[in-house]
């Protein structure tokens, strides 16, 4: 029982020195998470408010798109976080499979619904942006299709986690699926370059001078910081909830065992 409930305060002997395994101890992780969370919350709130102000009020309108260009400030960072979320999922899965790191499995489980949420936000805002600018809610071009595939990869990961009697088996199977699904990330990233799509190519990542005005770049980056902070905040919260649930289950199990022996 104790093996499946990592809730003891003592670090496991033998793994103390490794930096990777330092936070395999849930107690240590929880202490760190509690210390970091207020700062994350502050950064998220400040950058969100500043980003929304600069994005919705203080930034110039586009000479062609008029006010609809402001959808960019919610759409683009959401798409970034959809991909960042999947990268987190894949890295956590790799760490969980290779080093059998117990918190890495938890991190993957916690990250998946958040990433799926950002993917849905990116798809919905993109659709709302597409109607006035492209004249259609949806086109079947490579960027949009590969992001839909990303959403289904997230959903498959979540479904696989919950499909087994033993949670350990679900964790491992879902981790392998997450790693297989990595092939989709470069397809999303480069779809706008490889195929002749309606979706525009990247404006930000060009090395040197970004193809976007600083007045628009500032709110965009502020919103990106806010989304990233929100992602990390939700990730830590979900991991803490997951650990608490495991602890409750372990306590209930030991209590019912004590009741049997009496």
């Amino acid at each position: 029982m104790t093996a499946s409930t990592p809730s003891s305060e003592q670090p496991v002997p033998g793994v103390r020195g490794s930096a990777l395994h330092r936070f395999a101890n849930p107690a240590r992780f929880l202490r760190l998470a509690r210390a970091v969370q207020p700062w994350l919350l502050a950064v998220t709130l400040v950058s969100l408010l500043a980003g929304l102000y600069f994005g919705l009020v203080a930034s110039p309108i586009d000479y062609q798109q008029k006010d609809t260009v402001r959808i960019m400030y919610v759409h683009v960072p959401a798409a970034w976080m959809a991909m960042f979320g999947y990268s987190t999922l894949a890295i956590a899965s790799a760490v969980g499979l290779i080093w059998k790191h117990p918190l890495a499995d938890l991190a993957g489980k916690a990250a998946a619904p958040i990433g799926a949420g950002f993917t849905i936000i990116a798809l919905a805002t993109g659709s709302l942006w597409g109607k006035p600018t492209w004249g259609t809610w949806w086109v079947w071009d490579a960027r949009l299709t590969s992001v839909v595939v990303l959403l289904f990869l997230y959903l498959g990961y979540i479904a696989l986690w919950n499909a087994f009697e033993q949670p350990q088996r679900g964790a491992k199977a879902a981790a392998v699926l997450a790693l297989v699904g990595i092939v989709n990330l470069p397809i999303i990233k480069f779809s706008v370059d490889w195929w002749n799509t309606l979706h525009q190519p990247a404006s930000i990542s060009r090395i040197g001078t970004p193809a976007i005005d600083p007045a628009m770049l500032t709110p965009l980056l502020l919103m990106a910081v806010a989304y990233l902070g929100l992602f990390l905040l939700l990730l830590l919260l979900r991991m803490r909830v997951e650990l608490a649930e495991r602890r409750v289950a372990a306590l209930q199990l030991s209590r019912s065992r004590a009741g049997e022996s009496r």
Binding site: L97, T145, V149, F152, L153, L155, G156, A159, L160, A163, F164, E165, R169, K172, A173, V176, L177, L179, V180, G181, V183, N184, I187
Partner: protein, 221 residues
């Protein structure tokens, strides 16, 4: 390598013994195609335009049919435990099973596709492109499907879950299979599409047995 051939021969023999069961996938493939002229109406121009895409989609769905039995039976009767502890590398076992699966599903589909193409009024160049696309695409479907099959062993509602996991991964194959047919039909060079299908096949030939073996090994732990 002997493990690979032993598994391949065993799975083919098992399929022959289970009389008729082996060719269920291709029957589903043909029957599914016959539904479309009845559902969409028999107008020849439309059918010949849609034919390649319909056959490619049906190939994806028919491949799924036999996948959930790829490892499940061996897991239930304990064969998989023996295979896992045998000296033959696990990836060669997966490769043998995937090849047997392809010979029983993808292979018959390639043979029946021209007949179904004629029924759908497709042109001969389009049918040729379709056969080339299926020949390079369906082995990938079996290999990637093997990953999904090994992940869903023992899962609740494993069959539906398998389809949900595998179909998103099939999408690139579908795109380039129907791209090949469209290009062949309009007289364009379809070499690029075929090359990409071949590249995907080579990549999954290397990576899929390994990923599936990793998944199989997780069950024992």
């Amino acid at each position: 390598m002997s493990g690979f051939f032993a598994i391949l021969g065993r799975d083919l023999r098992l399929a022959r013994v289970e009389s008729g069961g082996a060719l269920l996938a291709v029957q589903f493939f043909a029957l599914g195609i016959l539904l479309f002229p009845l559902g969409l109406g028999p107008e020849p121009g439309m059918l010949s335009r849609l034919g390649g895409g319909l056959l490619a989609v049906m190939a994806l769905l028919a491949t799924l049919l036999a996948l959930d039995r790829l490892f499940q039976q061996d897991h239930d009767d304990g064969t998989l435990d023996l295979l896992r502890t045998s000296p033959a590398p696990l990836w060669s076992v997966v490769l043998g099973k995937a090849l047997a699966h392809w010979l029983l599903t993808g292979g018959p589909m390639i043979v029946t596709a021209p007949l179904l193409g004629v029924l759908l009024q497709m042109s001969w160049p389009a049918i040729g492109g379709l056969c080339a696309a299926l020949a390079l695409g369906t082995p990938t479907l079996s290999l990637v499907g093997a990953i999904g099959a090994s992940l869903t062993i023992g899962a609740r509602r494993g069959g539906v879950l398998l389809a949900l996991l595998v179909l998103p991964l099939y999408i690139p194959v579908l795109i380039f299979m129907s791209g090949t047919v469209t290009a062949a039909e309009t007289g364009l060079a379809f070499g690029a599409h075929v090359s990409i299908l071949g590249a995907i096949l080579l990549l999954s030939l290397v990576l899929a047995p390994w990923a599936s073996a990793v998944a199989l090994r997780q069950i024992g732990e």
